[in-house]
């Protein structure tokens, strides 16, 4: 119940400020443009596997957009509250820290859902002219949402560490980018190091979803990634509180 109350509060803040509308507009405008260019590319120069290839590219692009978008959404969650002094107020209400964290995470996920789901219009539109393989497409969306959840948890954690939204946002970019490029330079990293690092690459985990498959290991990894950062958030809040920091 209290989780929903916190989520309702966060959603009210998202929807009464311009943040949500601005970010949703940017995301949908860019992903619409990218869909148009991807479609155009495949209609003109496309190979045999038109449909599958198109969605892979579209998911790849939406993933990049999420990387830009999520830190902007999560950076305010604790940092703003701390700057305003309202976190202190929240702590005097009959709420557990776990409920506060879960509520904020839930609200952020709902906002991302509201931003991502309208892109489902692209395959719906296309299905009037072309048969769509819905199964693989849904796998791709599942992957995208899991990735969004993992990003949000990471951003929530970094927002709990500071009262500056800018610091929270910038460090979230940094950390997410790091999890992306961790396996990039195969020449610089030894073969053995690469086999150790690869499982931790957030973006390699998205490959299978992008191609329309679901690997349980990837699902579990992304959920675990989110869970670990939510647990870190709890520890960060708790320790700051015992030290009397707001």
């Amino acid at each position: 119940m209290s989780v929903l109350a916190i989520a309702a509060k966060e959603l009210a803040l998202y929807f009464t400020s311009l943040v949500f509308y601005a970010l949703a507009a940017v995301f949908l405008a860019l992903s619409g443009y990218l869909f148009y260019t991807n479609l155009d590319f495949y209609v003109r120069f496309g190979g045999m596997n038109l449909v599958l290839g198109l969605w892979q590219y579209q998911f790849y692009d939406m993933r990049q957009l999420l990387l830009v978008l999520v830190p902007l959404l999560t950076m305010r969650l604790f940092a703003e509250e701390r700057r305003l002094g309202t976190l202190e107020l929240l702590w005097t209400y009959p709420l557990r820290d776990v409920e506060i964290i879960a509520g904020k995470f839930l609200a952020c996920f709902v906002v991302l859902l509201a931003i991502i789901l309208p892109t489902f219009a692209y395959p719906l539109l296309l299905s009037r002219y072309q048969e769509i393989a819905w199964g693989p497409l849904c796998a791709g969306y599942l992957g995208l949402l899991l990735l969004a959840a993992a990003f949000s948890a990471c951003g929530l954690f970094l927002s709990a560490l500071t009262d500056s939204q800018l610091v929270a946002g910038a460090s979230t970019y940094g950390l997410l980018l790091f999890f992306w490029i961790i396996t990039w330079n195969e020449a610089a990293v030894s073969e053995r190091a690469l086999t150790v690092l690869r499982p931790f690459s957030l973006f390699d985990r998205f490959q299978v979803f992008m191609r329309g498959g679901i690997d349980t290991r990837d699902v579990i990894y992304l959920l675990l990634f989110a869970w670990v950062f939510l647990a870190f958030t709890f520890l960060a809040l708790d320790s700051r509180r015992w030290r009397g920091l707001r």
Binding site: A8, K9, L84, T86, L89, W91, P94, R241
Partner: protein, 314 residues
């Protein structure tokens, strides 16, 4: 009959790193009391109130809020307390009524009675006319009322108000004071301030804190008695200042003497007729007496005296 204690602190300390903000304080507030919590800035008022509101635990010592231990039953404690933090933080984008509805929900007011709870605090705090406006567009006085409304929301039996009148103009101060006065009897209130007239007007009991320690506790009258009854006489003298000083210093009871631009302030223990003696001494020295008046020692000075004594001790 003694009412049960609603707020209790026993040897409570709070350390932030190497700084000891609260250094072993003990006091309790009984049900239905309005208690003033007085002290200069940085004395440990806010830290103490945050401990009572459940924002952070004390470093050591026992705390009871409505009979509950905040470490074991944090939610029961928080349900019993409405807290008004200094500077009344707010979400600027939300409307007054929308914000209070969310507060009611966060405080677990059942869905059916949320509307009524919000309407009641809107009326109690005089916010009905601005209920639909965004909190960020309101004047400081109204925002402060929104802060109080948030504390009152959900009808907690205990209110902890941290400097609710800071930064307000005199008319607004009076309004907030009337609001708190209206709570008398129905709620237990701990009210912090560094303005004495306010505490004197509102509270039947005062707790004075300085340097993280309690330096005085009691009714305003009891506190004055503890400091020792003193009287003060102010004289304006025409003529040689040296002669006047000599005449006044020779008075019985060796009063404390301060002088600036021909005005002398005498302070001494309250027995004896200091004003008459001082007047006669000046005239006998052949000087002209322009003004002679007796000033009461107010709570402000009692407070300063206690604080100085406390700071010397720590």
């Amino acid at each position: 009959m003694t009412a049960r204690p609603m707020l209790e602190l026993q040897d409570v300390t709070k350390r932030f790193g190497t700084v000891e903000a609260v250094a072993g304080i003990t006091f309790s507030v009984r049900e239905g009391e309005i208690v003033g919590f007085l002290g200069p800035n940085g004395a440990g008022k806010t830290t103490t109130m945050r401990i009572l509101a459940g924002i952070f635990p004390p470093t050591s010592g026992e705390v009871r809020v409505a009979g509950h231990d905040p470490l074991r039953e944090p939610l029961a404690c928080r349900r019993a307390v409405g807290y008004f933090p200094e500077y009344a933080p707010f979400y600027p984008e939300l409307s007054v009524a929308g914000y209070l509805r969310l507060v009611a929900r966060l405080k677990r007011v059942p869905p059916g009675s949320r509307g009524g709870a919000v309407a009641r605090v809107l009326a109690d705090c005089g916010l009905e006319s601005v209920a639909r406006r965004r909190v960020g567009t309101l004047s400081k006085g109204y925002r402060q009322r929104v802060g109080l409304a948030q504390a009152l929301c959900g009808d907690p039996p205990i209110l902890i108000l941290d400097e609710p009148t800071i930064g307000l103009d005199p008319a607004q101060v009076v309004e907030i004071r009337e609001l708190v006065r209206g709570l008398r009897g129905t709620r237990t209130v701990l009210f912090s301030s560094h303005i004495l007239s306010e505490v004197e007007a509102l509270c039947e009991r005062v707790i004075v804190i300085a340097g993280g320690r309690i330096v005085g506790e009691g009714t305003p009258a009891e506190l004055a008695a503890r400091v020792g009854r003193r009287q003060r006489v102010v004289l304006r003298v025409h003529g040689a200042a040296d002669a006047a000083r000599a005449a006044l210093a020779a008075l019985p009871g060796t009063p404390r003497l301060e002088e600036s631009h021909g005005t002398f302030v005498l302070e001494a223990a309250s027995d004896g007729d200091l004003a008459r003696l001082a007047g006669e001494a000046v005239q006998q020295a052949g000087l002209g007496l322009i003004e002679l008046r007796q000033e009461p020692l107010d709570l402000e000075e009692v407070f300063l005296h206690l604080v100085r004594r406390g700071e010397q001790a720590s």
